[in-house]
Amino acid sequence: MGIDLAGTTLTSSAGLVATYSGSQIMKMGSTGVLQRYNPGQPMFRAGGSGTAAWVVFAAASTWDKVVFNATNVNVGSCYNTSNGRFTAPVTGVYLMVAHTYYHGNTAGWYTHPMFWVNGSSNARRPSAGAQHRMRGHGSASGYEEDTDSLEIISLIAGDYVEFYNYGGGGPNQWLPQYSRYEGYLLG
């Protein structure tokens, strides 16, 4: 027994439960906890498949798009394992997190890990420049560092986000099986 709101049903079961097409989409529990997790909530988690093996980027001193070829969460296929793109299914604010396990191959190597939106390094951002991080600068050749990066980005439905690493020096390399790319609709 519940209230049917054109497809969304509100019922009382140890709290107020909202259900759509048989799946719980939200629950306000009797302890005051609000649970928003539901099978349709935009989220993905991508990484590299198979046995750990270094992959050398194509060229030195270029922007390298990182393509993670496997997912263990990919709601609504919002992440494309062929081109490395997360496409925002709805307009909203998203939490994006990614890192590569990164290895520098020449003296003076470095990398700029960064999220690109719609093929641009600073689209949808408030800054005049791109959001450069700088990792590995000053490390000796043959050493490694992670490129852990996080960003809260306001996106419009259809915008796509990719993770890039600029390879200063090199060509450098990364270990896909020790790396990940994640996104979640915050609100």
Partner: protein, 182 residues
């Protein structure tokens, strides 16, 4: 058309989705036909600078407040202004900061502490250490993130402690953001 709960709060079908809101206000919560839930007007901000001042040297052996972020791509709830976020409501907030920095020559062994300050006070549990023993003449970033519970009216600033003269940051490559997560 919707269900009125007590004269103010309504649940209404809107273009195939459900929207919860107070009468006369914007939607607080949307549940769409695929089961996705989102908050079209959730409190949060994303701030940066819309000019490029280049490298800006920091005061040495001091906490440098970063209040140059004069532009926003998202600012709902009215909490952000001039480098400071003031919590409109109590709750748990996610904060993020990143900026590109540089260590000039002759200062290897020096470092920075990027940190979120609350109500004008340093947060010892938020200490980070960046660029310690990065060679002189090289660059780094001071990216950090934290989750804080704030009371309404609490405010959050960004400070970066620079241990030596000449350490600089590139403002156009910086972002300060926050979002109410619950």
């Amino acid at each position: 058309m919707g269900i009125d709960l007590g004269g103010a709060f309504t649940i209404a079908g809107v273009s195939g989705a459900q929207a919860l809101k107070f009468a006369g206000s914007a939607d607080a919560l949307t549940i769409d036909t695929t089961g996705r839930t989102y908050y079209p007007n959730q409190i949060g901000f994303i701030a940066g600078i819309n000019t490029d001042p280049g490298w800006v040297a920091q005061t040495s052996a001091a906490w440098n407040r970063q209040n140059w972020m004069n532009n926003t791509s998202y600012n709902k709830g009215g909490g952000y202004a001039a480098g400071r976020f003031t919590a409109p409501v109590a709750g748990s907030y996610l904060f993020h900061w990143t900026v590109y920095q540089y260590k000039p020559s002759a200062v290897q062994g020096n470092y920075v502490h990027p940190q979120f300050w609350i109500n004008g006070a340093s947060q010892p549990t938020s200490y980070r250490l960046k660029a310690y023993f990065t060679p002189a003449g090289y660059s780094f970033d001071s990216e950090i993130a934290d989750i804080f519970y704030l009371n309404a009216g609490d405010y959050v600033d960004i400070y970066v402690y620079s241990s030596a003269a000449g350490i600089s940051l590139y403002q156009a490559h910086g972002l300060f953001s926050g979002f109410l997560v619950g």
